[in-house]
Amino acid sequence: MTSSTALARLATGVLLVLAAGCAGAPGSGAAPDTLRWALGNAPNSLDIAHGFNDASTTVQFAVLDTMVAIGPDGQVVPRIAASWTHPDPHTYVFTLREGPRFSDGAPVTAEDAAYSLTRHLDPAVTSQAASYVTQVKKVEVTGPRTVKVTLRKPSPTFLATAALAWQIVPKKLAAAHPKDLGSPEVGTLGSGPFKVTKFSLASGVTLERNELYWGPKPALRRIEVKAISDPETLRLAVSSGEVDGTNDIQVSETRKWSALRGVTTVFYPANHIAYLSLGVREGPTKDVHVRRAIAHALNRGALATLMIGGHGGIADLMLPKPQVAALYGDKPPKLPAYPYDVNAAKAELAKSAYPRGFTLAAPYDSGGDDVKALQAIVADLAVIGVKLDLQPLPTEQYRQRMFSHQDTPLQLVDLVYGTPDPGEVLPDLVSRASAGPQGFNFSGYGSPETDARLDDLGKHEGADRAAAVTEVLAEIADQVPYVPLYSREAAVALRDRYTGRFGTWTADIFSGIRPAAGA
C-alpha cells in the first residue's frame, strides 16, 4: 500500500532526526574546577549603578572588589581598604591595601577608589545605588593610598552601605561610560577573584579566575552562568546535572529541591522581612485601635507556616532577622507585641470608631504568590468583622499604585535588604521624607518627633545606637503602622560534586565553592 510506505518513510525520518539529536546529547564530563551556575534572570549589568538586583550583584561581587566587606557576623571588615580611621563623626579615612591590581594589570589607585564612590552621586550616571550614598558630601584623595570621605551628617550606616555600593572600578573606564559601564558591550574591569571573559544577556556570563587577584586564590577556574527563567526547567537542569547549582530558589519550592538526589540544598537566613503596611493617613486604619486590632487578629504562626514552611519564622520586630541579630546579638529587646488573640482584637476594635468592622481595599500584585498570604489574612480579619476587598493588579500597575501611595490602605510588602545596618531600613519605613511618591514609607506614618529619633540613629555608635534603634522600633510597635509578619531563609542548591559555604552576608558566593573531595 502506498500510504503505509509513506508512513513508514515518515516514521524513519522522525527517528533519524531523534537519533541525530541523541548523538550530541550532553555528558556531565566538565572539569571539576568548572562550575556551571544557573540564575532565574540574566544579569542585566555588571555595574551596581545600573544593575542593583540579585542576578547582577551575584556576578558583580565575584568580579569587583568593594572598599570594605561584611564579615560572617555582620561586622564590617577590610577589603580593598586595609584599614580605616574614624577621626570624627563626619569623617572616615581609608588606607588602601598595597598590591591589588585590576585584571588588566593596572594597579588600583586611590583615584580609582575615590571616583568609584563619587560616580554614584553624579546625575549623569543616574545610579541605582544613589540613595545608598546620599549621606556622602565629599570624597578626597589625601595621599597615594588614602581616601577621605566626609559625610553630610553622622551616619554609622555609611560603612555598611560602602560594602555594597562602593565597588572599585577603574576611573578611566567608568568616566568614559557613565551610562553604560557594565553593559554587555562595555563590560567591566575589576580586581576581584574572577574576571569576565564573556557577557551576553542571551547566552550568559563566563568568568575565569583572575590570576592577579591579591586575596586567597579561589578553587574554581571557570564559571559559566546561565539564566533559566522557568523555575521548573531550572530544577530539571540541576537535577539532570546540566548545571551544578543555583541560588535562585523560591521558598515555596523548597520541598521539591530538598528531595533532589545528588543535590544538597543549604539554607541560611535571608536579610528579608514580609510585613503588612497599614495606611495611617486616611480611612479606618487611621485609627490606632483599628491597626492594633488587625495586628491581634492575624495568626502569624499559621501564615508563616503557609508561606515559608520551616524555612524562617515569625518576625517580632520591624527589622529583618539578620539585622536584629547583628545589632542585638541574641538579646533582642522586648517590645509590645500583638499575639494572635481574637478577643483582644475585638476589644481593640470596640475602642475604635468602627466597632462593627468595615471594608478595606487591598490591592496586590497578581504576578507573585502574595495572593496566598492575603487570602489567609482575609480569613483572619473576617473573624473580627474587617472585610478585605482584594484587588489583583498586574505587576507594573501594582508597583505604580504602591509607589504613588494612593488608595493603598492595606498591602503586603516583601523586601530583601543588602546590609546588616537598621539604618538601611528604618528611615525608609517611617521618615516623612520617604512618605511621598516613590518612597518606601508605604503607611505614610511620620512626625517631626519620629524624624528626630531617626536623626538620633546617626549620632550614636555602639550600645547607645542599639538603644536609639530600640526607641524607633518601640514607636512602631506602639503605633502599628506596620505589622511584621515573617522572615524567610534563602537557599543555595549545589550538586554533590561541589561543596560550599554560604551565609546571609556572603556577597561573592563563587569564591566559597570548591570541588568536593573525591569528585
Partner: protein, 315 residues
Amino acid sequence: MAFVARRLAAALLLLGVLSVLTYALLALAPGDPEQVLLGPRPSTAESRAAVRAQYHLDDPLPVRYAAWLGDAVRGDFGASLYSRESVTSVIADRLPVTAGLAGYAIVLTLAVGLPAGLVAAMRRGSPLDRGITLSALVALAIPPFAMSILLLYGFAVTLGWFPVFGAGETFAERVTHLTLPAIALATGQAAVVVRQMRAAALDLAGQDYMTFARARGVGRARYWFGYALRNTALPVLTVGGLLLAANLTGALFVERAFGLHGVGELLVSAVGQKDLPVVQALVLMGGAVVVAVNLLIDLAYLAVDPRVRHGAVAA
C-alpha cells in the same frame, strides 16, 4: 514589478501605523520606564529628575515619538533601557536562536503534516484517515508549554537523550538543543497543517485528472508530488507561511520552558520593563516578517500555480 512595489509601499504604511500604535499603547499602559532605569531599590529625588531629563520622559508623547522615528529611519534604534546595550545587538543576540527554532519547527511541521494530511484525504473514511484525524485533534489540544514539560521529563530527564535547557554553541549542539523545543512547537502546528491539507485534498481522489494520471501510468513520485501536492499547495502554503511568521515572533512559552533566550521571551520581558526602544524594534521586526512572509507566499503562488500566474498577467 509594479505588484511588488505596491506591496512594499503598503508594507511601509503598515509598519508606520504599527509603530505609532505600539508607542502610544505602551506609553499609556501603567508603569514607567523610570522604574526600570532606577531599579528596585529606593531612589533619590535627584536621580529621578536626572533620569527623566536624560530620557526625555517628560516631553509630550508626539515629541518623543518623532525623536524616536527620526533616529529609527537613520537606522539608529537606540539602546535598551534595561541592559544599556544597543537594540540592534540585543536583537542580533537572540535572533539566531529563534530563527533556528522557527526553521526547525516548520521543517518538522511540514515533514509530518503534509504527507499525513494528504494520505488522510486520499484514504478518506478509512481507519487510517480516522487515526490521523484523531491524532491531529489530540496534538492540537495539547498546549505547547504542556508539551514542552512532557518532553523535558521524558526525553531530557528520564532518558537523558537531550539537554534540558539552553541553545548550545556549535551547530551540532544547536541541533540537539533545539530538537525538543522544535517538536513541542511543531506538534500543534503539524496538526493544523494536517487538517488544512486534508480539507484541501478531500475531493482530490475523485478528480478526473488524478484518475487519468494513474491510468496513464504516471510514476508514484510524480503522482503524489506533481499532481496531488501541487494541486493542494495554495492553502497549505498560506498556513505554513503564517506559522513560520508566528514562530519567528511568538514562540514564547516554548522558549521559556526550554530556557531559550529568544525573541519571544525578549518581547515579553521588554513589555514588562517598558523598554520602549526594544519593544518598538521587535514589533517592527515582527511586522516586517509577517509582511515579507506574505509577500513570499504570494510570489510562491505565482510559481506553483500557473492559473494564478495567468490571472495576474490578465489583470
